[in-house]
Each structure stands twice: as structure tokens, then as C-alpha cells.
Symmetry: C2
Subunit: 116 residues, 2 copies
Amino acid sequence: MTANPPTGDELVGVLSAMANPIRLRILATLAGGRDYVSHLAREIGVSRPLLHMHLQRLEAVGLVVGSLELSDDGKAMKYFEVADFVLHLTPSVVAAAATTLTPSDPEKGPAPKEHS
Amino acid sequence: MTANPPTGDELVGVLSAMANPIRLRILATLAGGRDYVSHLAREIGVSRPLLHMHLQRLEAVGLVVGSLELSDDGKAMKYFEVADFVLHLTPSVVAAAATTLTPSDPEKGPAPKEHS
DNA sequence: TTCAGGTGCAAGAAATGACTGACAGGTGAA
DNA sequence: TTCACCTGTCAGTCATTTCTTGCACCTGAA
């Protein structure tokens, strides 16, 4: 996994996903073993909805993967674990990735907005 | 340069500095050779004040270095070039870095401000 | 039924980031 | 003087992220 080299847009996505102390802590904690949302929230010390949002962001770019499972006592638990990514960043890698960035055309249309 | 492994806070800084299409393009362009602000702005296609802001951000985390020089005809030119950084990111590297993150203590004091 | 513990989602405040336009200063050449 | 370059910065606006609060849903155990 973790296509190397990444496209420019993917790179921006992954970088902004990691560029946050809470999300870094999430990755670090999960690197020590999988965990489910509520417990992870207590572990890191953030509210559950907040953690949920961060996990969503990390999952969207493939840095973590979640799976809904059923515990012994029938509770639905969502477990997350880290994807073992490898990102090797150097000026030349960045230069290569930048060539595949979607242009920001301020002319035609307001932007490639993806509204739902 | 480019201390490896980085501290958690440094890592967040570097990552958020790179997590932007324009700044990625700046790095990519500079990887092809040094350049001065105005020319670089035309090259990339952004306004000069905007580029100035982005360069500031990149320089703050050490991804680029700038030097004010005097051209043959006496004009002051600020040249920038990329620092040849090497960032190797994996779950374990992130886990190690995360241990050195400044805690977010919303209680005691506003934060460990580091003033110069 | 009530409680504890798990899941998810959404509205809205607060903080941060991105961007434009305008201004001020410097030089050399026409 | 005026023009064409270069440098910088500030005020204000708009868009995006971040975070809290609160709701609705599920299960098994008391």
C-alpha cells in the first residue's frame, strides 16, 4: 500500500492529515496496537466526537483503517489500526509530485468544488 | 541539516508547511534552481504578497533559505533556495515524535510560549 | 425501566489560514 | 521627473479547520 511516489493532490491530502498534534498522537497510539473509538478518546484525552472527526480525516487518506466489530457482549465496537505507510520526502520527490497537482484555474468556474 | 528524527512540534510545523499546493509548487520550482521573489511569483502565477507569505512560512521551518543580494544594476533581490531535507515517515517514526509533543494543557497557563 | 457503555451525525461558535489591494521604500535608466 | 523594476508590510475579508454541545440509535445487565 501507500503508493510511492504519490500524486501531488494525494500528497497534500496526506500531509494535511498528519499536520496536527492530535492526529499525530492518534497515529502514535494506534502504532502501539489497535483500539476502539471510545477507549482511544479516553486514552488521548479528547472528546469522542472530536476524535471521531480526526479519525475520519485519517481514514479518508488511508493512514488508518477501521472495522466495525461485535464484542462478546454484543456491543458494536469500531476498531482502528494504522496502515503501515512509508513516506520518503525529499526536494526531488516533492518536485515530481508537484507536476501532478490539479491547476488552480481561477478563470473557468469557481473551482472544482465538490459539493454533496 | 534537517534533524532526523524531529521533535513532535517540529514535525507538525514542517508537515503543515508542506500541506499546501502553492507551497508544494514553490518547493518544486526552487528544486530546479534558486530564484528571487518577484520572478518566482510570475513563474508560479500568484500575487507577490501571497508568495511572500508562503515563503515566510517555508523559511520559518527551514525548508527554504533566503538571502538578500544586490544584482549587477544595484537592485536588491531576495533569492531563495530549497534546503535539501530528508523526511522519512513511518508509523514508528511518528510514534517516536509524538512523545515529544508539548501537552495541550488547557488548564495551567496559556501554554509554554517560546518567545525568542 | 433505567443505567452504563458502545455507535453515529449535525448545527454553530471560535480560531486559524489564505488571499487581495493598497501603501511605502529602494535603485538605475529614459 | 517619470518609469520600470526590486523589496517589504499592513488592514481587512473570505474560506476552512477545529472543537463543543446535544441529539438519536443500539446492546446487555441491574
